[in-house]
């Protein structure tokens, strides 16, 4: 596939470099440490702008990594040069050390919270939302009756329902999954309903001339054309599911799980472990999102946004 209109301007590199140097030094004078920070950012960005011109998987991997490295470097520098107390914000190096030292613990928490709580809740919630969207779409009566009420029920804030669900479903992962179900339901429902409405008129007429049954039209036409919308909802909710499962553990849990560890460690001011758990959450969330995005790419390969 050909692309057009790309190719960056290349201004006088020397002048730019000098200007940057002056800027960096000036900033550092005025606020010690900030010069180094600024320098790290500019350098990272410069490398990335270069890299982004190369298409292909390697630059697609490198660019976010370099961006992340820039972020981490500035964090480390900020912690050191502004003397941020570790009970407020630990440095990345300390977080890394805590991560490496607690691998079995982190793994156990991961299994409890992400695999048992978040994943099962997300799957159930997504299935429910799709089913309800289809129901709503099928019956104008339900559409008028259920959608407003569905909006209402599904907008119940997590901090309110979590204690109730812990009361109903017990302390273990089942109550966390229930929280996740409620959290992911609404975004998927809204997107799915929009998706089911989004079939184009010609395709609808066509399938009508073949006198397809409702189920056939649904399976062959409306579900496929709703997929880009559905995946929109699925992607948004991957991260919501993690938040839900973690936060629900604040309201009662067995003595394991990421939310449990986070709240307990905050109390012990073991912030490095807190951030190590957050790191696990971020890695898991990114992977979760990435997997869903990958499936999306395969399922909706035909959509203009995927064809590029």
């Amino acid at each position: 596939m050909t692309r057009y209109g790309e190719g960056g301007a290349r201004p006088g590199a020397l002048i730019l470099g000098l200007a940057v140097l002056v800027l960096v030094l000036a900033a550092n004078r005025w606020w010690p440490g900030s010069g180094l920070l600024l320098f790290v950012w500019l350098a990272g960005w410069a490398v990335n702008s270069r890299l982004a011109h190369y298409e292909g998987p390697i630059s697609a991997m490198l660019v976010p990594l370099i961006f992340g490295a820039t972020l981490l470097a500035s964090w480390e520098i900020a912690c050191a040069s502004f003397a941020i107390p570790p009970v407020i914000l630990p440095a990345p190096s300390a977080i890394g050390a805590a991560f490496a030292a607690n691998l079995p613990l982190l793994w156990g928490d991961f299994v409890q919270t992400i695999l048992k709580g978040a994943l099962s809740g997300w799957l159930i919630g997504a299935a429910l939302a799709v089913a309800v969207a289809v129901l709503i779409d099928r019956s104008p009566f339900l559409q008028r009756g259920l959608l407003p009420i569905g909006n209402f029920v599904a907008a119940l804030p997590i901090v309110g329902i979590a204690p109730i669900l812990v009361m109903w479903f017990g302390f273990d992962w089942q109550s966390k999954a229930a929280v996740v179900v409620i959290m992911v339901f609404f975004p998927i429902l809204v997107n799915m309903v929009a998706g089911l409405k989004a079939t184009d008129a010609l395709a609808r007429d066509q399938i009508a001339t073949w006198s397809a049954s409702y189920a056939q039209a649904l399976v062959k036409l409306r579900l496929p054309s709703a997929m880009p919308f559905l995946f929109n909802g699925l992607k948004i909710t991957t991260t919501l599911a993690l938040i839900g499962a973690i936060v629900a553990e604040f309201f009662g849990s067995p003595t394991r799980g990421m939310g449990f560890r986070i709240s307990t460690s905050v109390g012990q001011l073991n912030l490095a472990l807190v951030w190590a758990e957050i790191l696990v959450a971020a890695l898991a969330g990114t992977a979760f999102y990435g997997i869903v995005a990958l499936i999306e790419k395969r399922v909706t390969f035909w959509h203009p946004s995927q064809r590029g």
Binding site: G68, L142, R144, G145, A154, G259
Partner: protein
């Protein structure tokens, strides 16, 4: 009429189910109490007992309705016991956070569809940002803001913006990439600038995605505010109300606050739905 009827029927069904569930879930406690007191209950008495508990597992609909009524109409709206007062505090932070979040999400989406560097570097980190459990870092955010002298609405709004920017970002990136090949080619053959192609093609064709995202985002913003209200010292707002209700085991107060919050969210979502209909109609997209 034809709009109200279905809602009423479904509502009636839900209320009936709810009463059933309330009886079932509250019965063990009632039976226990009776057993301890040594006075066995008839079925009728049992059902009656499940309707009036002070700390029910599931409060009966009329108990919640009464709690809501007391909270909304039973107080001066400036009273600390008024749900309207708490609701307003939550709403103002929600709207501020939603505005910030939606704008930030849209702005990032614009940057991402136009710049490969942004696409590659921002997206994974935007995702990672959403997996940070806000309830865990919210106290730190509040502390950091407070030490910078910023308190009140702004820190809460930041947390709600944090939660609401993501749905907008994801939806808008999708929406901006929706125009098909031919439409982009047309723009291209006219040598439209990027800005022109954006405002004249990408933006209008992203609207269905935008509105779906905004609905999700406004609900997320409300959740964010409520979460932000907990560490803000649990003083005011529906979040504080929820928490203190939960802390003192006042089930009915929890449910009232919960319903007030959900009602608020539903109103906000409906409002966006209304704007959607008007906009799409004016654009000739709603047939």
């Amino acid at each position: 009429m034809s709009r109200v009827m279905p809602v009423l029927v479904v509502l009636l069904g839900i209320v009936a189910l709810w009463y059933g569930a309330a009886v079932a879930m509250n019965a063990p406690w009632a039976r226990d109490q009776a057993a301890r007191a040594g006075t066995p209950l008839s079925t009728g008495q049992l059902i009656a007992a499940t309707m009036v508990q002070e700390r029910p597992v599931l409060p009966a609909p009329h108990q919640v309705a009464k709690g809501l009524w007391d909270g909304i109409a039973g107080q001066k709206i400036t009273s600390k016991r008024s749900l309207v007062w708490h609701g307003w505090i939550t709403l103002s932070a929600t709207l501020a956070g939603f505005a910030i979040g939606a704008l930030a999400g849209a702005a990032l989406a614009v940057a991402i569809v136009h710049s490969r560097v942004m696409d590659l570097s921002i997206m994974p980190w935007a995702i990672a940002s959403q997996t940070v459990p806000i309830l865990a870092i919210a106290p730190m955010v509040i502390v950091v803001f407070a030490s910078a002298g910023v308190t009140g609405l702004v820190p809460k709004a930041m947390i709600s913006a944090w939660l609401s920017f993501f749905p907008v970002l994801v939806g808008m990136v999708k929406g901006f990439r929706t125009p098909d090949r031919m439409q982009l080619d047309q723009m291209h053959s006219w040598s439209a600038s990027r800005a022109q192609a954006f405002f004249l093609l990408r933006l209008p064709s992203s609207l269905p995605y935008l509105f779906a995202s905004l609905k999700v985002a406004v609900a997320a913003a409300l959740v964010g505010t409520i979460v932000g209200e907990l560490p803000a010292g649990a003083t005011a707002g529906l979040g504080a109300r929820l928490l203190s209700g939960s802390y003192y085991g006042q089930t009915i107060q929890i449910w009232s606050a919960l319903f007030a919050a959900a009602g608020l969210a539903a109103v906000l979502v409906a409002l966006i739905g209304l704007i959607e209909r008007v906009v799409l109609k004016r654009m000739g997209l709603a047939r």
